[in-house]
C-alpha cells in the first residue's frame, strides 16, 4: 500500500500484520466513541422512544398509556387544525423556496458581471443572512406594523393602503415569505461560486454560434448551475418545513402563536405547542414522525426527479 511497508521483508509484514490491525481497529473505536455513544444515547435511543411515545398518550407526569395508532388517526381525521397546519407549511415552503431561488439566480447573475464595487454589493446582499432569526423577527414585526411600519409607510408614498400583514389572516404567510426572501444571501453566494466555476470557453463557443446574452444565460449558465440549484432546493425545502422562531416571535410572541386564526400555524410550532404548552407528548411525537415522513418523501422526490433536469458536467448522457 505504501512505499515504506512494501520495502519491509514479506515474512515480517505477514507476522506483524494482525496485531497492529487489531490495535488500529481498537483506536478507531476509541476515537470514534464520542460519536458512537452520542448516536446511541442522543439519536437512536430517543428515536425509538419517540416512535413508542407516538403510540401513547403521555402528559409527562403519569406513565404513558398505550393507544396504538390513535394519535395518527386523530391527526388526520379528527384534528382540523392539523390539516390547516400542513396546508400553511406547504404554502409557505413551496412559495418561499422557489421565490428565493429565482431571486437568487437573478441577483447572482448580476453580481457575476465585471462591475466596479462588486464587493460592496456582495456584502450588502449577504449581510441579512448574518442577522440571527430572533433579531430579524423583532425587526420585521416593526417593519410590518400596519400604521407606522416601514413597509406600509413606503406603500403609502404611492397611495397604496397596505394590509395589516401579521394581523391579517390573508397576509401573514406572504409576510413570512418576504422575510425569507430578504435572507437570500446564502444561496446567492453558492450560486455565484457555481457561476464562477463555469469554464469561459463554453461562453466563447456559444458566442461564436451567435448566442446573445439571454441565450448564453439560458443555455450555458442555467444548465451548468442546476446542481447548485438542486442542492439549494433540497436544503431550502427541508429548512422551510421546520420554520419556528419567526412564527413564535412574529405571530403572537409565544402567547398564542400561529395567528390570526391559525393562518400562520406551521408544523414545528404546532408540535412545540402540543409538547411544551399542553403536555401532549404522545401527540407531539406523532407530529414529529409525520414531519419526518414528509421531509423524507420530499427529499426523495427531489432527488428522483433531479435526473430530469439536473445537468452534471462530467455526466455522459445515455440516450
Amino acid at each position: 500500500m505504501t512505499a515504506t511497508l512494501d520495502r519491509a521483508p514479506a515474512s515480517l509484514r505477514k507476522a506483524g500484520a494482525r496485531a497492529p490491525r487489531n490495535r488500529e481497529a481498537l483506536w478507531f473505536y476509541l476515537l470514534a466513541s464520542p460519536w458512537i455513544i452520542g448516536f446511541v444515547v442522543l439519536t437512536l435511543g430517543p428515536m425509538l422512544a419517540s416512535a413508542y411515545l407516538s403510540l401513547t398518550d403521555w402528559d409527562l407526569f403519569t406513565s404513558p398509556a398505550w393507544v396504538g395508532l390513535d394519535n395518527y388517526v386523530k391527526l388526520f381525521t379528527a384534528d382540523p387544525v392539523f390539516w390547516k397546519v400542513l396546508g400553511n407549511t406547504a404554502f409557505y415552503s413551496f412559495l418561499s423556496v422557489p421565490l428565493t431561488m429565482v431571486a437568487s439566480v437573478g441577483v447572482a447573475y448580476l453580481l457575476n458581471k465585471p462591475l466596479r464595487g462588486k464587493r460592496i454589493f456582495r456584502t450588502a446582499v449577504y449581510l441579512p443572512t448574518l442577522v440571527p432569526m430572533v433579531a430579524t423577527s423583532v425587526l420585521f414585526v416593526w417593519m410590518f406594523a400596519p400604521d407606522t411600519g416601514l413597509i406600509n409607510s413606503f406603500l403609502a408614498l404611492f397611495g397604496v393602503d397596505g394590509p395589516a400583514w401579521l394581523l391579517d389572516a390573508a397576509w401573514v404567510k406572504p409576510a413570512l415569505i418576504l422575510v425569507s426572501v430578504w435572507q437570500i444571501g446564502t444561496s446567492v453566494m453558492l450560486l455565484l461560486a457555481g457561476m464562477q466555476g463555469i469554464p469561459r470557453h463554453l461562453y466563447e463557443a456559444a458566442a461564436l454560434d451567435g448566442a446573445g446574452q439571454w441565450q448564453q444565460f439560458r443555455h450555458v449558465t442555467l444548465p451548468m448551475l442546476t446542481p447548485v440549484i438542486f442542492f439549494n432546493l433540497v436544503m431550502g425545502i427541508i429548512g422551510a418545513f421546520q420554520v419556528f422562531a419567526q412564527i413564535y416571535i412574529m405571530t403572537g410572541n409565544g402567547r398564542s402563536m400561529g395567528g390570526p386564526d391559525n393562518a400562520s400555524m406551521m408544523i414545528v410550532p404546532y408540535l412545540f405547542d402540543h409538547a411544551f404548552r399542553f403536555n401532549h407528548m404522545g401527540y407531539a411525537s406523532a407530529i414529529a414522525w409525520v414531519l419526518f415522513v414528509i421531509l423524507l418523501a420530499l427529499t426523495l422526490l427531489v432527488i428522483r426527479s433531479s435526473s430530469l433536469w439536473v445537468f452534471y458536467e462530467n455526466e455522459v448522457r445515455r440516450k
Binding site: T4, L130, V134
Partner: protein, 275 residues
Amino acid sequence: MRALHYATLTVIAALCTAPLLFMVSMSLSSDATSARGEFSLFPTEWEFGNFVAAFTSDLPTGSFLLNSVILTGLAVAGQVFVSAMVAYAFARLRAPGKNALFVVLLSTLMLPAEITLIPQFTLFSELGWVDTLLPLIVPNFFGGAYNIFLMRQFVSRIPRELDEAASLDGLGYFRVFTRIVLPMMKPALIAVGIFTFSWNWGWFMGPLIYLSSQENMPLALGVQVMYATGGAGQAPPWNLVMVGSLLLTLPMIVVYFFGQKYMHELSVTAGSDQK
C-alpha cells in the same frame, strides 16, 4: 445596459441593508420616539444612553451576553475538537464495521431534530439539567454528523505520507491526530467553528425549551424576552430591543469577516472533491 445593472444592484443592495440601518437608527431613538413607533432610516436622535440602559434595566442583559458567550464558546470547542477526532478516525484508521458506521452517520443527516426532541427533553429532565445550559452544551461533545462528514472529506485529501512517517517514528494514533493531522485541518476547523458559532449564537428553540430563569438565558432568547416585556396591547421598548438585536448581530458580522478567507479556502478544497 451597464447603468441598468448598477441601478438594479443598487436597489437590491438598498432593500437588503435598509432594515439593518433601521435597526441601528431604532437603537439610538429616544423613549418617546420608540413609543410612537416612528423611526427614520438614518438616526435623527443619538441616544447612546440606550446601550447603558439595556444593561441597567430590569432584565439581566449582562447575563444574557455572558450566557451566550459560555454556551457558544463551549459548543464550538466541543464540536470542533470531537468532530475532528471522529473525522480523523473515519478517514484514516481501518476497522471492521467502519463503513457500516459511516452509512449510519450519513443516514442520521436525514433525521430532523424534532424526532429526538421530546425524548431528549425527558432525558435531560431526568438528569436535572433543565434550566441550565448543559442540555445545550453537552451534546456538542459527542460531535455532529454533518461536521464529521465534512471534516472526513477534508482529512481524506491530506496526503498520508506525513502521518505514516510519524507513526513509523512510534507516534500513537492519538498523537498523530493531535500533532500532525489536526494542525493541517485548520481551514476545516475554522469553517466548522464558524458554523457552530453561528448556529448556537442565534439558536432560539433550544434555549426556549430548556431555560425558564432569565439569568440563565442566552441573548437570542433574551432579545425575545425584551421584546415581550411590553405586555399585551403595549408597544415593545423598540430602542432597547434593537440594542439587544445589534448586540446579537454584531458578533455574527465580526466572525463572518474574520473567517471569510478560511471559508473560501475550504470551499475550494471541497469543490475539487470529485475525482
